[in-house]
């Protein structure tokens, strides 16, 4: 009697489990299907717009014709500019936190600051960049101002992924290195950093991907609405892909839909390439790792 009751309870639980698993499967697939759909949709509608002229010519006829070359170049410059400031600073800050920082109030404050930087809305970075770089330091609306703004925004991503990568390197390597007469910096430079490189690269690429896709921080610090020439110096304003997409999809009446989809596709391809780079770095590092 009790035996059968137990048994039927088990059967019931297994049935619930089966039902629950199916439900979660459907829900999760419902979460990721739109992502695939978006990718296919953009490729399908954007591909016809892509031509050599589209990616290599200046825009003309109030952006309603021609290409998006200056926006591509502009985004490239902004990404490079962001990397120049944020990569060395971010890696150095991560080295400090992982290898040097004592456990005390100051370190705690640094961590709180980083969490904070990560949470500040991108448009607030825009305000800050406007206040500090454009007006106070008088860099004007320029690639320089925009890159500096973007690098501070990117910093927390680079710091936290790099710190994680450094901490993953076993402590014993450091002890062995020091026991062989290495200074702290020699240990970091010769042993710890090379081991952490894949993790650091992943963080750098993810950070720069975000920076390159951002619009709000460059709105008032460096983005040009329409500038059918390439920037001449870091103090020039520039067109940028995401901002250009915003402009042509909301600010220009009578915009041919094809050009809009073409621009989205170029942005998407850029994001896909960055993501593939990250995936390749990760899987290669996993295969090569010696610990």
């Amino acid at each position: 009697m009790q035996q059968t009751a137990k048994k039927s309870n088990v059967v019931k639980q297994l049935r619930i489990e089966k039902l629950g698993f199916s439900l979660l499967t459907i829900l999760s697939i419902a979460t990721v299907i739109p992502i695939i759909a978006v990718v296919i949709y953009i490729i399908y509608l954007g591909a016809p717009a892509i031509s050599w002229e589209f990616v290599s010519a200046m825009p003309s006829d109030g952006m309603r014709a021609g290409g998006i070359w200056p926006a591509i170049v502009g985004t490239f410059y902004l990404t490079i500019g962001t990397a120049i400031f944020s990569v060395p600073l971010g890696i150095a800050a991560a080295i400090y936190l992982s290898e040097y920082a004592p456990v005390n109030k100051v370190t705690q404050a640094i961590r709180l600051a980083i969490i904070n930087l990560a949470g500040i809305p991108s448009v607030v970075y825009g305000l800050f960049g406007l206040g500090l770089f454009v007006i106070f330091l008088n860099f004007g609306t320029s690639i320089l101002s925009a890159s500096l703004t973007l690098s501070i925004m990117t910093l927390p991503v680079i710091i936290s992924t790099t710190e994680e990568a450094l901490r993953a390197v076993p402590q014993s390597f450091r002890v062995v290195s020091v026991s062989l007469g290495a200074t702290k910096w020699q240990t970091i430079w010769r042993l710890v950093l090379p081991q952490a490189i894949p993790g650091i690269l992943t963080g750098v690429v993810l950070g720069l991907e975000r920076a390159a896709g951002e619009t709000a921080p460059i709105l008032f610090t460096g983005a040009a609405f329409f500038l059918p020439r390439l920037p001449n110096s870091p103090l020039d304003a520039t067109m940028a892909l995401p901002y250009h997409l915003f402009v042509i999809s909301t600010q220009v009446p009578g915009m041919p839909i094809q050009i809009q989809y073409g621009t989205v596709l170029v942005l998407l391809v850029f994001v896909l390439i960055m993501n593939i780079i990250v995936t390749v770095i990760r899987s290669r590092a996993r295969a090569k790792r010696q610990w």
Binding site: V10, Q13, E17, G20, F21, L24, T25, S28, T31, V32, I35, V38, Y41, L89, A92, A93, I95, Y96, L97, Y100, A101, V106, I110, L112, A113, I114, I115, N116, A118, G119, I120, P121, S122, V123, V124, G126, L127, F128, L130, L132, F136, K184, W185, E209, R210, A212, G213, T215, A216, L219, P242, L245, F246, S249, T250, I257, L268, V271, M274, N275
Partner: protein, 299 residues
């Protein structure tokens, strides 16, 4: 001589690295300083009662930021309603149930969503989501708070999924094995043991995801219609709305530096900063509390 050189180099490097470490504090203080110095004059330019009134119409000097704050809240709330259940359940599925090969497909897809620029989502919102909502719900316009919520949900999901998934993966396998050994099903184990054990990590994921939606700018600016209307009832979800972020982004380009309007926009930036600060401090408190507990268990 050479030893001396090495030592000096070591000293310089150490100083440089230490300074870089401190730089984050410097940047937060700088941001705070510039927001305060450009934002607080708003309190002198505009009466406090005016500032927190219901009318935002800067051309005629109406600077009531209340509809903007509430607008941000409505969109954030709506986005959370989408992102929290979908995000957590997807994380549970990926971490606990999905077969290995499906994990390998789903994780990069979620990461791809995280990498999509917010203008791309806004663009899709204008061309796909809003016409769809307008037609199916029979609305006068598809650019509504609801459209913004749905798309912002998409922005918060990757954050919630990846942090929750980490939290679930950090639950030791012995917990699961213990529960399974007692004859509980995997389903019972997930909800009775694993998810409760990862609770604080999941809570942190939710906070950070919500933090992202409050600060999101381009998508909401493109799809919510940008009408500064006070949301007073549930009906507001189906009407255009305007958030703090969209207001700054769309108006800062046109104001004169130093004008009351300029200062008020910075003031809104301050309010946003405080909101996200609050969310992040709560989130980091959750995580440090978790740390302390696990340390106690280990020692």
């Amino acid at each position: 001589m050479k030893e001396n050189q090495t030592r000096n180099f070591e000293k310089i490097i150490t100083r440089t690295i230490q300074f870089s470490g401190y730089s984050s504090i410097l940047f937060v203080l700088l941001i705070l300083f510039f927001l305060l110095s450009e934002g607080t004059p708003a309190l002198f330019d505009v009466k406090l009662s005016q500032l927190f009134s219901e009318r935002w119409y800067p051309i005629e000097d109406y600077f009531g930021i209340l509809p903007l704050i509430l607008g941000s809240m409505v969109v954030t709330l709506g986005a959370s309603l989408v992102a929290v259940p979908f995000g957590i359940l997807t994380a549970v599925y990926i971490a606990e149930i999905a077969p290995k090969w499906l994990q390998e497909i789903m994780k990069p897809l979620v990461e791809l969503l995280a990498g999509l620029p917010s203008v791309v989502l806004g663009f899709l919102g204008i061309l796909v989501v809003s016409p769809f909502l307008r037609d199916t719900l029979n609305l006068p316009t598809g650019l509504t708070a609801l459209t913004g919520s749905l798309l912002l949900g998409g922005i918060a999901i990757p954050t919630i999924v990846s942090i929750s998934e980490d939290a679930l993966n950090n639950v030791p396998d012995s917990y699961r094995h213990g529960s399974l050994a007692l004859g509980l099903t995997r389903w019972q184990t997930i909800w009775g043991v694993t998810v409760p054990a990862a609770k604080s990590g999941i809570l942190m994921a939710v906070m950070l995801g919500v933090g992202r939606t409050i600060g999101e700018t381009m998508t909401v600016m493109m799809v919510t219609g940008n009408a500064p209307i006070m949301p007073t009832s549930l009906q507001a979800l189906f009407m255009p709305i305007r958030t703090m972020t969209a207001t700054i982004a769309s108006e800062m380009g046109e104001v004169a530096t130093g004008s009351p309007h300029y200062h008020v926009l910075f003031f809104i930036g301050m309010v946003l900063f405080l909101f996200t600060l609050l969310v992040n401090v709560i989130a980091s408190n959750i995580s440090s509390r978790k740390l302390k507990r696990s340390e106690r268990i280990l020692s």
